[in-house]
Symmetry: C2
Subunit: 436 residues, 2 copies
Amino acid sequence: MAGKPDTTPPRGMRDLLPAEVELRDAATQQILAVYRSFGFRRIETPALESLRLLVGSEGGENEKLVFKVLKRGEDLEAAQRAGGELAEHGLRFDLTVPLARYYAENHARLPDPLKAIQIGPVWRAERPQKGRYRQFTQCDIDILGVGSAVAEVELLLATGEALTRLGLSDLTVRINDRRLLGAIARHCGFPEEAQGAFFIAFDKLDKVGAEGVLGELREAGHAAAVIERFERLLPTLQKGELSLEALPGLLGQAAGDAAPAFDSLAWIIQTVNREMPAGAQVRFDPTLVRGMGYYTGAIFEAISPAFPSSIAGGGRYDKLIGRMIKRDIPACGFSIGFERLVTILSEGGGSPAAPASAPLPRRVAFLVDATGDLGSALAAARARRAAGDLVSLEVRRKNLGRQLEALAEQGFSAYAVVESGGAASVKPLTARRGHE
Amino acid sequence: MAGKPDTTPPRGMRDLLPAEVELRDAATQQILAVYRSFGFRRIETPALESLRLLVGSEGGENEKLVFKVLKRGEDLEAAQRAGGELAEHGLRFDLTVPLARYYAENHARLPDPLKAIQIGPVWRAERPQKGRYRQFTQCDIDILGVGSAVAEVELLLATGEALTRLGLSDLTVRINDRRLLGAIARHCGFPEEAQGAFFIAFDKLDKVGAEGVLGELREAGHAAAVIERFERLLPTLQKGELSLEALPGLLGQAAGDAAPAFDSLAWIIQTVNREMPAGAQVRFDPTLVRGMGYYTGAIFEAISPAFPSSIAGGGRYDKLIGRMIKRDIPACGFSIGFERLVTILSEGGGSPAAPASAPLPRRVAFLVDATGDLGSALAAARARRAAGDLVSLEVRRKNLGRQLEALAEQGFSAYAVVESGGAASVKPLTARRGHE
């Protein structure tokens, strides 16, 4: 390796090979087709945002992971002299914070309500580990301007349909509501100002178990009687059999205050489950919390036996945009973890099938003489393209047999050796054993 | 505006509205369809690259425009203490330098030859001005591993076909060869080591005219006799009527050394012009130079009366990858300036028509009662989606007439008011006068 420059991509970032991009593109096109059929439309924001916006956005831990972009020229020199901030902008760490800014900036020119699709890369300076990258793709849909739960219904049905079409079977969307979690906190006796800390501890239930959550609450110094009340309630919440209808009975007065949330959640679950595609369902889960501080109502997370962690997550965030626009804009979103989805698909846990109306085109290699007259080869290639084939001109090598093997390994399914002025007789090409 | 945070995107960067993204997506899909039909396959590299790679890549002026990413944590502190480099990575400024790194890193796992499509954002900290952005999209095809001019033929035909399909008429691809320019330089008497400076001055002909070019050469201190010889040749080169066949007669011995380049260029022009779609042609232009230092053979640039500057540019760069991989890899690419293309299309200078087989789907609004039973609306929406419509649920407002007008303005072409349990009778929706 001596003398050869380092050509690895930056740590935690990836080069994608043609077959990998093709799987991702097929999944993207399938998701976009479903989302568009539900009336969503794609928007785009720049990769960079101001640090003022990114930091202080209730993006939780993600704010600490921002890649910052160095100021330039005189600005940088001035900052270095004054010991000031070296950066003014950063790479976006999610698509929700930019969406809020986008809506505040452009709402007068946007449809009302806005049903937005965003698909694109985000960056987080996380410690690289298996399946976790520093640049990765998110795929979000959001409905801005709809306060009614019709928005939640559309998000859940559209994402359920998209994931099912990709071949994910046995899909469950866990659903809860932040206002119900508030009722649980009140019932236990957590004061209003301790609710955020309670949610953060409760959110770790999947990772650290009941004892871990209770331990964190004790360490944080909450009143023993309050924690005890939560400890008595927790086993029932965890059982996974608690119905939405049974919960108010456990919470008493605290539930009464959250009655609209109970009604709305019941309506969403009933409406969605009647329409979900086969193999997908919504299920009430009173232990679902989700990490972001900005959620205000329904929250949801899609899981599948094909993957250990959630595949998609979202919820209602009615107060986030208001901070930028000085009036509240009801908002609700669902985000597919695209990298997780691609992992499932590449391990055979689904099938991003092309729509039945568009069969996969055949890849054909036209082997030509590099120095000859290409006229007949080009004309024949043009005709095959018009018929739907993907035709690549390949310069004919000395060892034809070996070249054909290599082409078959690359996914070509047919070939023709085209002599100057000759006809192109297309023959099938089947992959044989490799020649390593 | 008091108290409202600044929600504009970073300077020189843009938010894209749904209609803008849809135009871009239509153009992208059309280009991708053509490029795939020629056997090209999409690859992806990260947005960030090491500064070591970006700076010193013969990327010309672009190297100075790199957005650098601040080091983090301990690395940053150490750099600040030592007065060292604050950044290790930067945002890519084009797609060619990353492609060379990608090939050097991954060639053992890639098809040989590699016919790559890249489409994605690049970043340059240019002074923002009309039509020039700090984040913009490039769309490149490259063939790596083919030394024969079959590669140039495929690049020229594929890009000619893609731009023609997008409705660009009267497309001319100017073509030249760096080796011919070398012959011109030798004929005039520029020594080998002055060739680069001569090319840089000559490249400005379109902008500063003949006198400007000659003035720059004089200022640079080249020998008067050499400049005089070039001055005598220049009017003939500029006329636009000089044929490739006539040029050797003007250059004498210097042309003889470049005979293979003349033959290859003549073969490319003849082969491509026989196959180019109607309204597109390749034309020899001895004044075409192109800015990048890394070109070694044929160079080309697509122009159209619809736009003042070039729409696409490229050429052969047989030595660039070798610097990273320690053996030369013949390479050739053609890059569409996607933002320029979109400007032409949005001003009506083309038409990114959907293929005839896929008519544009109808956008239908289903107006529903926010609190009612959505069952029949959802079932009817599902049926219409299966029939190919894009169906959006919209919560019915008090002023139905006004809501329908707004929906028509947003591009909906049909609607249905769906009562609980009722049928969905879809009616056409035509845009009326706005209600400002």
